[in-house]
């Protein structure tokens, strides 16, 4: 046993270290080189070029407003939802759980597109409705604006903030509040002076994670920002590698360096806060029931807000996409529109070789990538949870690092690497990039599965006469299956809809779904985009449904104490 272990951790450090350190190192080298072809000659030219660009000040200002604005939207909405769900008697609580898993079903790019279809100034459905039906001549709610970007990104980051806040809220030790009541505090006073301050680490953690997410976001800035000529750092990087006569990967790397540095700083701040937070938010071991606050008169208005949110988050995007995929051009729903509906766009997509190739590539990446990713995650999680040495601490830090990776920046880093290997422009380049960027999504569920497998369960198998191999086969693996399954599904659904890394690494022949949709959007082919988008949603949704079913099947195992 000890012999095998001593080899395991170093080899995992080598693999994970390659996946996470390689793109960062290549990004650094790349930023000091003149171009993809001229690697290795040190120059500051690209930094000077990138950071003396007069447009950069405006772009940075946009980025700061966009990132902070959307994080405020996401965190405050999440706080409201989490509070209503865990602490009040609001009806239909299952809606909250649905909201929390939505981003896994609807890819960010499609969510952004559906808002463009609703609110673009020339022919967005809501704008058409305002002009044609209600007769507001010049009325146009323009989605192609910073507030538009902030709203959509905020809605997209809402679930991740909710997933951090809801458990913190639920594990809150109620006696802290009760003692405030006994001391004479009112409900509102207790909320302001006790509940929120105690939850501050969790709130900050949710806010910081939203910052990291929106800083890395490419879907919203590209679909909503670029048509309105509002650039943030992510789209600025994309511009320097995708437009103009020559792609400038050196300049992209130089800008990417500051995005990556910011992101890594934020994610370590997040990690610090969550470890602090565990000290702060006390989970009482005895069975406890948080006091449920009766909402009385405000019950239904508040429920209304939640219903509208779920409508906006789930129903609207899918409906708009489906509608757009059937009508020949943008028109508001009417008898005429329904009479003109056809499967024309669907047939075009099904007969488009590039769309079919992207479908095939994305499915391959989803299935094979998630399988390889989860296999790696099993070993990494094992080393982190069960071995616990200095080396496994390093492994944890390394695997956590990629949590901060903004896809487009890390894509640029990988580009510098792949271009000098035979992997360049193959599907394997994408596969390696995906696993590197999304490794924490596999490691996390598996690490918690390993935590569940108490060492006594393994040891008692040994005492019963089973060797290490039998113990693995009969005890450890069966107990890990729920973690393996949820890690697999999580990774697979991430891979199927991956955009920001793919726009950099995807080349002719290795198109993937999200990139193809992105190209449709650039060309304004909304009908075909919607048809392909619905297919994409169906694939992601069936993966999530599979996860839920498998999760239910294994539930007794999870309920064990």
């Amino acid at each position: 046993m000890t012999g095998k272990r001593s080899v395991l951790t170093p080899s995992l450090i080598a693999v994970v270290g390659f996946l996470t350190v390689c793109p960062v190192a290549m990004l650094i080298f790349g930023s000091f080189s003149t171009g993809l072809g001229a690697f290795g000659t040190f120059t500051l030219e690209k930094y000077i070029q990138a950071y003396t660009d007069p447009e950069l000040t405006g772009i940075i200002a946009n980025t700061i407003i966009f990132v902070i604005g959307s994080s405020i939207v996401a965190t405050s909405l999440a706080l409201l939802l989490a509070y209503l769900n865990t602490r009040t008697d609001i009806p239909f609580k299952f809606l909250f759980r649905i909201i929390s898993i939505i981003p896994m079903m609807i890819p960010h790019i499609l969510f952004s597109v559906s808002w463009v279809l609703l609110l673009n100034p020339s022919n967005g459905l809501i704008n058409l409705f305002l002009r044609q039906v209600l007769g507001f001549e010049n009325a146009a709610v323009n989605i192609y604006s910073l507030p538009g970007m902030i709203l959509v990104e905020g809605l997209l980051d809402l679930p991740i903030a909710y997933l951090i806040l809801a458990p913190a809220m639920a594990s809150f030790d109620v006696s802290l509040e009760e003692s405030s009541r006994v001391c004479g505090g009112t409900t509102t006073g207790t909320l302001l002076h006790v509940t929120l301050p105690v939850l501050r680490p969790a709130i900050l953690a949710a806010f910081i994670l939203s910052l990291v997410r929106s800083l890395a976001s490419f879907a919203v800035p590209s679909i909503i920002g670029m048509p309105g000529r509002i650039y943030v750092l992510a789209t600025h990087i994309y511009q320097s590698i995708a437009t103009g006569f020559a792609a400038d990967f050196g300049k992209a790397a130089a800008i990417g360096m500051s995005v990556l540095a910011t992101s890594i700083t934020l994610i370590y701040l997040y990690r610090y806060l969550t470890s602090e937070g565990e000290k702060y938010v006390t989970i009482s071991s005895r069975g406890f029931h948080p006091t449920i606050i009766k909402l009385r008169r405000s019950k239904y208005p508040l429920f209304g807000i939640v219903s509208i949110l779920s409508l906006v988050l789930i129903v609207l995007p899918v409906l708009v996409l489906f509608y757009t995929s059937l009508v020949p051009y943008s028109m508001i729903p009417s008898a005429r529109a329904f009479s003109m509906m056809s499967w024309k766009h669907w047939l075009e997509v099904v007969n488009d070789p590039i769309s079919l190739l992207s479908l095939k590539n994305s499915l391959f990446l989803g299935v094979v990538g998630a399988t390889l990713g989860v296999t790696l995650s099993v070993f990494v999680a094992y080393a982190i949870v069960k071995i616990r040495s200095h080396a496994s601490g390093l492994l944890e830090t390394l695997s956590f690092l990629s949590f901060s990776f903004p896809g487009i920046v890390i894509g640029v880093g990988f580009m510098w690497f792949f271009v000098r290997t035979p992997l360049y422009a193959t599907i394997w380049a994408l596969l390696i990039g995906y696993i590197a960027t999304y490794l924490p999504y596999g490691v996390r569920p598996l690490a918690s599965a390993f935590v569940q497998v108490h060492s006594h369960l393994e040891e008692s198998s040994r005492v019963c006469g089973a060797g290490p191999f039998t113990t693995m086969r009969r005890i450890v693996i069966p107990l890990l299956i729920p973690g393996i399954v949820s890690g697999w599904i999580l990774m697979a659904s991430m891979f199927v809809r991956e955009l920001s890394l793919s726009v950099v690494l995807s080349r002719p022949g290795t198109e993937v779904l999200a990139v193809q949709i992105f190209h449709f959007a650039e060309d304004g082919l909304w009908g075909q985009l919607s048809a392909l988008g619905i297919i994409m949603i169906l694939i992601s949704t069936s993966l999530v449904v599979m996860a839920t079913l498998v999760g239910m099947k294994f539930k007794p195992v999870e309920e064990r104490k």
Binding site: H454, H456, E459, R462, V463, C464, G465, P478, P556, V557
Partner: protein, 362 residues
């Protein structure tokens, strides 16, 4: 099977310091007895048990189970846990949550490739023994704490090991269930005629269950003996204090005769049963257990070891009164009948039988 441990040491390194988890332990555990390792938490008792079962390895020494060396530093022998053929009940029970009761109990037989029909009858026998007949198909997650404990016991017994080990198996049960299970366990083990090694920090459990008790502290075995020996004739201050409530009074030997040792202490002169090996002038500690301090209200009977003092406190705890008496500046814990009509402030006389006056030196 007899178990022999010689010169077992184990070290942990933390923060540049070396901690001796086990410090040169020599121990022989006789066959077919219930042997308890008792000590405060962190004394090394669980580490010692885990070394015997093979889940940890000592750094020095030799372990022999039934004449076979299973671990030896000098001969470089290490028999892995699964080859040692022992049974063990864990503190957490370690019932596998993804299996039903039958599979949990059958597991040790399945790993030994026992034929199916024998497995079936052996499991039935084991479950009958722990009074869980008919629970075969119950999922392990649907068991109460006491039932899990019995399943763990059935699993440890099913392959008929010669030695069974217990790592604080009762500590996760509530007080009432713990008492019942303790009695049952005693009955089971007596019936089985098996070598049992039991680890606990609970002195009542140790006294009630064991044939032999070894008291451990700081990685060493301090004393080994029968429960009565340990309780009445401990040789060490630590053992006398750990095994039960006691009054410890500094004293000096003033005379040594053929049938008694007499000491001088804060109470005055106390006559104790003979402790061979003590000389006049030796510093000793007198241990008086509260239950052997006999209170006599009213006048003093004309016997040995009569003292008087004032009642400082008295608490009714149902089965008895517990309190304190002050004699000069010394306070003694006492225990007396629940129907006593003494009050705080009363002057009382009390006696201590020389047979229960224990003198310890270390």
């Amino acid at each position: 099977m007899e178990i022999r441990l010689s010169k077992i040491s184990k070290f942990y390194h933390s923060g540049g310091q070396t901690i001796k988890a086990l410090d040169n332990v020599n121990l022989t555990i006789p066959a077919n007895r219930i042997f308890t390792l008792l000590g405060p938490s962190g004394c090394g008792k669980t580490t010692l048990l885990r070394c015997i079962v093979g889940l940890e390895s000592p750094d020095e020494g030799e372990i022999e189970i039934g004449g076979e060396i299973v671990w030896s530093k000098t001969q470089n022998i290490f028999v892995p846990t699964e080859k040692r053929g022992l049974g063990m009940v864990f503190q957490t029970y370690a019932i596998w949550p993804h299996m039903n009761v039958f599979n949990n109990v059958a597991y040790p037989l399945q790993t030994r490739k026992t034929p199916r029909n024998i497995i079936r009858s052996q499991v039935k026998k084991a479950l009958h023994f722990v009074q869980l007949e008919g629970f075969e198909d119950r999922p392990a997650t649907k068991l109460s704490g006491g039932q899990q404990q019995r399943v763990a016991l059935a699993r440890a017994l099913v392959a008929e090991p010669k030695v069974i080990l217990f790592d604080e198996p009762l500590s996760n049960l509530d007080a009432k269930l713990r008492e019942e299970t303790r009695k049952e366990l005693r009955t089971f083990l007596t019936e089985l005629q098996i070598t049992a090694i039991y680890v606990t920090h609970d002195r009542i459990e140790a006294l009630a269950l064991s044939d032999l008790v070894a008291v451990m502290n700081k990685g060493r075995i301090i004393e080994t003996g029968t429960p009565r020996d340990i309780y009445f004739h401990a040789a060490h201050r630590f053992v006398a204090d750990f095994i039960g409530r006691t009054n410890l009074i500094e004293a000096t030997v003033i005379s040594q005769t053929e049938d008694a040792t007499t000491v001088e202490c804060a109470l005055g002169t106390v006559r104790c049963h003979r402790h061979p090996g003590l000389k006049t002038g030796d510093p000793v500690t007198l241990c008086l257990r509260p239950e052997f301090i006999r209170l006599q209200g009213g006048n003093a009977a004309d016997t040995l070891n009569v003292f008087s003092g004032q009642i400082e406190s008295l608490v009714f705890i149902g089965e008895a009164f517990e309190g304190e008496i002050s004699i000069n500046d010394t306070r003694l814990f006492i225990k007396t009948e629940p129907d006593s009509n003494l009050k705080v402030g009363d002057l009382v006389h009390f006696t201590v039988d020389p047979d229960y006056c224990l003198l310890v030196t270390a």
